[in-house]
Amino acid sequence: MSHGDLRVVPSPQLWGLAAEFATVDAFLSAVEACRKAGYVHFDAHAPIPVHGLDEAMEIPSSRLPKLVLAAGVTGCLTGLALQWWTNAVDYPFRISGKPLFALPPAIPVAFELTVLFATIAAVVGLFVANRQPELYHPLFTLPAFARGSDDRFFVVVEARDPRFHREGTAQFLKGLGAEAVYPVEV
C-alpha cells in the first residue's frame, strides 16, 4: 500500500440516463411512456418546440402570462402617474393653453410604458423561471447531446428518481425505440 499518494480520484457518479430518438413519433410516445411508468425526475429535450409535448409530459401551464399582465398594468399606471405628477404637480406650466394634465395626450407615453414593462417582465420572467443563464449542466458533458440542438430528441431520466434503476431504466428506454441510451456521469 502506498502512503505517499493522497490524491483521491473521485469515481464518476451516475447522474442519469439519456435516450436518443430520431423521430418525433418515437420521442413523444417515449415521453408519455415515461410519465405513465411513474418517473418524476425526467425531462425531454428537443431541437424544436414539439406540439403535444406539454400534454405528453403534463407540464403545468406557465404562470408567466399573469406576471406579464401585472407588469403591463404597472407600466400603464407608472406612465400616467409620471405625466400627471411632473407636468401638473411638481412643475406646472401652461403651454399653448393646454390643460396641465389630460388623458388623451397622456395615452401614448402610458401605452409605451405598458408595453415596455410587460416585455421586460416577460423576458426576465422567462430567464428566471428557466434558471438561465445556466452555462453548466451535466447533459453538456455528453458528446452525443450536441445533436440535441440539431436533429435528435432526448429523453433523460435522472438517477435521483425513486423509480430509477440503472439496468432496468436503460432497458425500458431501449424498449421505447431509442436509437441509443447513454449514461450521463458527473
Binding site: V24, D25, A44, I48, Y91, P108, V109, S149, D151
Partner: protein, 488 residues
Amino acid sequence: MSRAAVQTSEDPIRRAPLVLGDDSFAAITEKVASIVERPRPPLWWTVSFAVSLGFAVILLAMLAYLFTTGVGVWGLSIPVAWGFDITNFVFWVGIGHAGTLISAILFLLRQKWRTSINRFAEGMTIFAVICAGLFPAIHTGRPWFDYWLFPYPNQMQMWPNFRSPLMWDVFAVSTYFTVSLLFWYVGMIPDLATLRDRARTRLRQIVYGVLALGWRGSARHWHRYERVYLLLAALATPLVLSVHSVVSFDFAVSQLPGWHATIFPPYFVAGAIFSGFAMVLTLLIPIRQAFHLENLITERHLDNMAKVLLATGLMVGYAYGIEFFTAWYSGNHFEAFTFYNRALGPFSWAYWIMVFCNVVVPQMFWFSKARTTPWLILVGSLLVNVGMWFERFVIVVTSLSRDFLPANWGTYSPTWVEVFTLLGSFGLFFTLFLLFIRFLPMIAMAEVKSVVPRAGLERGPHRGHGQYWGEIPHQHDEILGGGNHEPR
C-alpha cells in the same frame, strides 16, 4: 407546371411546402450554420463591408463637423427647419416596421412562411432603428444635452413637457428599440445553442455558449419559451402600429396645412410596412442568391412579400388620393393650396417621383410572373425605397416651405453635409447588417425545422407546417408497431 408555379399556386387541397429539397433537420442546420462557420467570408462580403464601413466613417466625420460647428452646416432655416434630418428619421424608422410585422403580426396570424425570413427582417429592424434614432438626436442644436429629453430628477428642477408629441416620440422609439432587441434575442437563443454545439474553436464555444445562456431544449423551457414568444408577439403588434402613429403625430398635431390631417397615423403605418417590405426584399434577394438559400427562401416567400408590397402600395396610393380629396372637400384655401403646390409647385419633381415609385411601380405585382422573377422584384423594391424616401421629403419640405402667409414662404436645398450624412447612415446600416449575416444565424433554424412535415406526428391528421391538432397515441406500440405508415 414549373416548380415555381406548383409552389406558388393556391390549391386548397395540398399545402405548398415551405422548404424545398432536402428538408431534414440536419440539412437545415447545415445550410444555415455553415454560413457563419466558414473560416473566411466570401469576397463580395469583404468588399461590401469595406465600402459600408467607409461610408460609416464618413458619417462619423459628418457628425464631428456638425457637432463642432453647429447646425448651420445644414441647409435648414426658417421656415424649413426640418429637412433631410427628419426625412431620414421617418424613412429609417419606417424601414424597421416590416421586421416587426413579419416577426409579430404574421406570427399571430399563423403565417408559417414567415419563419424563413423573420430573423433576417428583425435584424434589419434593429439596425434601421439605430439609424433612425441618430437623426432626432443630432438635429437638436446641442446634442450633448439630449438626455434632457428623459424625465429624471435634476438640479434645474424642471421636467419635460409630456403634452408635446416630440416627447411621445422619445418614449415610442426607445421602447420600440428595446422590445425589438429583446424579441430578436429571445428568438435567437435556440439557434445560438445550435451554433454553440457545433463550435469547433474555443472562442466560438465561449461566445456562443455565453449568448445561448445554457439553452438545452428542455421541454419545460420550450413550454415557457413558447408562451413568452406569443406574449412578445402580442405586445409587439400594437407597439409597431403605435410607433409610426406617434411619428405621424409629430406632424399631425401641428397646425400646418399638409401635416394637420387625421389620416396620418394609418397612412404612415401603411407606408412604413410598404417601405420595410421593400427593404427586406432589397436585402434578401441578393443574399438568397449569394448563399444559395433558394430552398429555404423560396419563390413562394418572394411571391407573398411581393403581394404585401402590392397591397400596402395600394393603401399608400389611396392615402395620396384621399389627401387631395380632403383638401378639396374641406373648402379650406390653405389646405387646397398646399396640395396644388405639392403636385405643381417647385418640389413637384419630388412629388411625381414619389407617385411613380410608390403607386405605379408596384402595379406590376398584379402579375405572377413579376412576383416570381427575383430581379424584377429587386428593381421594384429599390424604386419603392427611393419613392418612400421622397414621400417623407415631400411631406416635410413642401408643407414647411409654403405655410399660410406668402411673406413667410421659403425654400430648402440640402448642403453636402446633409447628403453625406444620409449616405453615411446607409453605411452604418449595411455595416451592422453585414456583421449580422457573418456572425449570427440569419435564418431561424429551430423555427424553420418546426414547419417541415417531419416536425409533426407521422400519423397526425395534419402533417405539415408544424401543426398538430390530433390526439397523442395512448400506447407507444400503436406508433412503433403500426405497419401502415404512409410513405412521405
